[in-house]
Symmetry: C2
Subunit: 216 residues, 2 copies
DNA sequence: CCAAAGTGACCGCTCGGTAAGTTACCCGAC
DNA sequence: GTCGGGTAACTTACCGAGCGGTCACTTTGG
């Protein structure tokens, strides 16, 4: 990290270019941390997954925290962008379906990204926790806007209730992603269609209303 | 564990009776494992929380796994009983509310019990994983029955969809418990009332239907 | 005085992280 | 063309800390 990184193959280059190796390590780290969590993940195993040894991890990323942080930033950015892009359009139940569809598409073949942001084994303070909290808060903010607009017709809902709904909503997203992890043969589109079907059954009237509004 | 336990104070008894110390340790362990998870939890910290030293933990429970298993059995039994007791009555949305209310009551001042059963840092095999899986499966079975009866009016729902709904339902329960952990000033009854209010807003028609049926 | 309760010190292991040495590559000299 | 030599890439071997777990010893109370 202290040395000047080279973007192209240069003198002394052995094996593969720095960028490629970096990607390989990041991919391995996302896999390891996504499955075993921050606390349970081991840098040596990340190295083995990437086909190198532990000191290389430290040559490239400096520390376990910094490595996790890099993965976290990529995952968090991807998720925030996906969710933000789905917030346009009508403020009804269809937005929830659109959001989940966007998340599914962003996460396709990268299912561990969600766990990276919502990892429960992160240290309770420090920069890692702060970064993860920032992404969660940003996602929460986006979700809360949707929830607020959705609940707008019901002014009797107090703020704490709205906060609970937002929390429940992300619990639902978490559960959907977790279910997907146990059924990896499903595609993102199939997952989105399945969720839409389920919503239609669970909230028939609200769904019919939004469906009608969308088609009318 | 190998020695004959004494239920009352006897010769050589120092400090407090065995049963009391056992409870103290179990309480400390549930706290530690509930907050830090199985992998992150340390027997030495459990001992410190209980006001003794590490070898006592092993005198009383033999191993970290055995200690966790004892906590897990208590938590799992409590939760299964609570959920099972709420499965009587009409098979509509009100059953979900009743179930969550029962869970909230069972968990009052023992919020970590839920994490004990759904701890993600448990080893991927072995007796601990088996035990936790058994409790999850039992809870899932109870939940699936409710979901099936609830979805009974919609025969077009395929089995995989029902499985997803069950998963989403427990994701919701998890999220509700997690929200409670962040708002510890709420009582179990307040939490139940809050959830009921939220359900009434989110699924107005279904809720009105079950409400009407319950009162008619 | 004796048995049970309780502890300090230790073992082997794995962790995150590091220092020092080895290997492979590019490039200029011949 | 090939042949060192310098530099970046990479590895082996190690450190201190904390883990689960154990043993020999001391304290305590009937």
């Amino acid at each position: 990290m202290s040395k000047q990184p080279r973007t192209t193959q240069g003198v002394g280059t052995k094996g593969m270019p720095r960028k490629d190796r970096e990607r390989l390590i990041l991919e391995a780290a996302a896999e390891e941390f996504g499955v075993k969590g921050y606390a349970g993940g081991s840098t040596a195993r990340v190295a083995a997954l990437a086909g190198i040894t532990k000191p290389m991890i430290y040559e490239y990323f400096g520390s376990k925290d910094s490595l996790y942080l890099t993965c976290l930033d990529e995952a968090g950015t991807r998720l925030v962008e996906a969710v933000a892009s789905a917030q346009q359009g009508p403020s009804d139940l269809s937005r929830a379906v659109r959001t989940l569809e966007a998340v599914f598409r962003a996460l396709a073949s990268r299912l561990h990204d969600w766990e990276l942001v919502y990892d429960a084994t992160l240290p309770p303070d420090g920069p890692l926790h702060d970064a993860a909290t920032a992404y969660r808060r940003e996602l929460n903010r986006l979700g809360a806007v949707g929830v607020a607009e959705f609940l707008h017709a019901s002014p009797e809902v107090e703020p704490l209730d709205a906060d609970l709904v937002t929390h429940l909503w992300y619990g639902t997203v978490s559960a959907a992603v977790s279910w997907w992890r146990h059924h990896p043969e499903q595609t993102a589109d199939e997952m989105a269609a399945r969720f839409e079907r389920v919503v239609a059954v669970l909230c028939p009237d609200l769904w019919a209303a939004s469906d009608q509004r969308r088609q009318g």
